[in-house]
Amino acid sequence: MQDFKLKPMKCELNYLSKSDGSAILSQGDTVVLASVNGPMDIKTVNQSIEKATLEVLFCSKEGKPSVADRYKENIIRHTCETAILGCLYPRTGITLTIQELENYGGLLTCAVNCACLALINSGVGMRHAVAALSCCVDGAGELVLEPTHAQATAARARLHFVFDSREKSLVTGFTEGTFSEGTYEEALARCRAASDLVFAFYRDIVSNYCHVI
């Protein structure tokens, strides 16, 4: 059961006053800020008559854009697109901006979680919530759930998964390094089980705000 301990999470919603929804989330030492604007009017070329267009922008701390940032945007966009009920807002755009504040491993999982919280906060209609978890294979071949920065950098492989809140099925997955099939399945199962903790955390945060409103 010890494996099921996640890094301490801290979150504040509505951190930004100008955005329609925003969240700042820390998981361990990694901190991410996310803001959601929309649904709002966008250029006709980008409009889709079937659903809202989701635009994701990932800003690294040091400003210079890179190919890896585009990849992160792609992952977050795909993940959030499945979560949002885009068909409720045809011909509109939703902008999701993510700002890295501190990176001590697990940046992308933290960003996905933070994006989900910001989306919840913005009040955009959602199919389900998503929870991202990561897990790594250390030198001895042992699985470590939610590794620390040192563990993650030394690891042979890092696996990241995103689950939905309804069926706990896999929404997004991405891996680094090499690993065996058995490891993959174990990691997937373990992360899936641990995703409950993340959802519980979401519920806590949201219920806090329910009291206010």
């Binding site: 585009r70 792609n74 065996s180 099939e181």
Partner: protein, 281 residues
């Protein structure tokens, strides 16, 4: 007539086929397209491969250059791979700098190559802190018909396997470099990563997994690009990426993995025979 139907009602057209348990191009759900490889067809490159997976065509050309290694890592060389999605390969792409999508594909391909550790970058260092090889792998898509990553990886690995480095002598005193193209040493390539793309089509009661989706199928499965890419390399995974599309159940996942394994063996055979034939010539 079918063409008109396809244009007017793309999703219904597709659904009609799927309901008959067949894909628009006549394949089964699990069936992959044929792979054709041609090596060293481009003489101006140091190594090259042209790969066709069905209609999807990717050319990989390798150019060798020499440079000073990075100060932080003085004993390793460089392997730079980029994917170009030309405007000529599909009307989805416009001229100009690489689109976001092209950058994502570049990143995926480059990640797979790095993760599989198929080239030891230390082999590329000539003299520590002074001289190292830079392998520029430019992957160019000539025809975009889905599952681009699969074709890119095959093209890249095949051309790396046929690449040999000329011998270099470096004079420490005068810092003079001499290259002898007469003697060439083949580059050591460890392992053989093979990527397999899948599309996940949302259908009740069960989602449908489409192996090696075409561009049209990718579009029906939720936009440009495959939903699931499994990369298998000599008994180990070196990358499982799933983006978007529908959610994946556990059984489906198992099936994709076994399909990926089968595909890996097949592609390996194709590459090996191709290289052997090339050597004989």
């Amino acid at each position: 007539m079918t063409e008109v139907y396809k244009h007017i009602h793309p999703s219904k057209y597709f659904n009609d086929y799927i309901n008959q348990d067949v894909r628009p191009d006549g394949r089964d759900f699990d069936q992959q397209r044929d792979v054709i490889i041609n090596i060293n067809g481009i003489t101006s490159a140091d190594a090259s491969a042209i790969v066709k997976c069905g209609n999807t065509t990717v050319v990989c050309g390798i150019k060798l250059e020499l440079a000073r290694p990075k100060a932080e890592e003085p004993d390793i060389g460089f392997l730079i791979s980029n994917v170009e999605l030309l405007p000529l390969c599909s009307s989805k792409f416009r001229p100009g700098p690489p689109s976001d999508y092209a950058q994502v594909i570049s990143n995926i391909v480059s990640d797979i190559v790095i993760n599989s550790k198929c080239v030891d970058l230390k082999d590329l260092c000539v003299v520590t802190d002074k001289l190292a090889w830079v392998i520029y792998c430019d992957l160019v898509c000539l025809d975009y018909d889905g599952s681009i990553v699969d074709a890119c990886i095959i093209a890249l690995i095949t051309s790396l396997k046929t690449l040999s480095l000329p011998t270099v002598t470096y004079d420490n005193e005068t810092e003079e470099v001499k290259v002898d193209t007469g003697v060439k040493i083949p580059l050591q390539v460890h392992g053989l990563p093979v990527a397999t793309s899948f599309g996940i089509y949302h259908k009740l009661p069960r989602n449908i997994i489409l192996a090696d989706p075409s561009a049209y199928e990718e579009e029906m499965c939720g936009g440009i690009g495959a939903n699931l890419i499994v990369c298998w390399n000599k008994g180990l995974f070196c990358g499982i990426q799933k983006f978007g599309g529908c959610n994946l159940s556990t059984e489906d996942e198992k099936r994709t993995i076994s399909l990926a394994k089968q595909r890996c063996k097949l592609v390996e055979q194709v590459i090996e025979t191709c290289i052997k034939n090339g050597e004989v010539k």
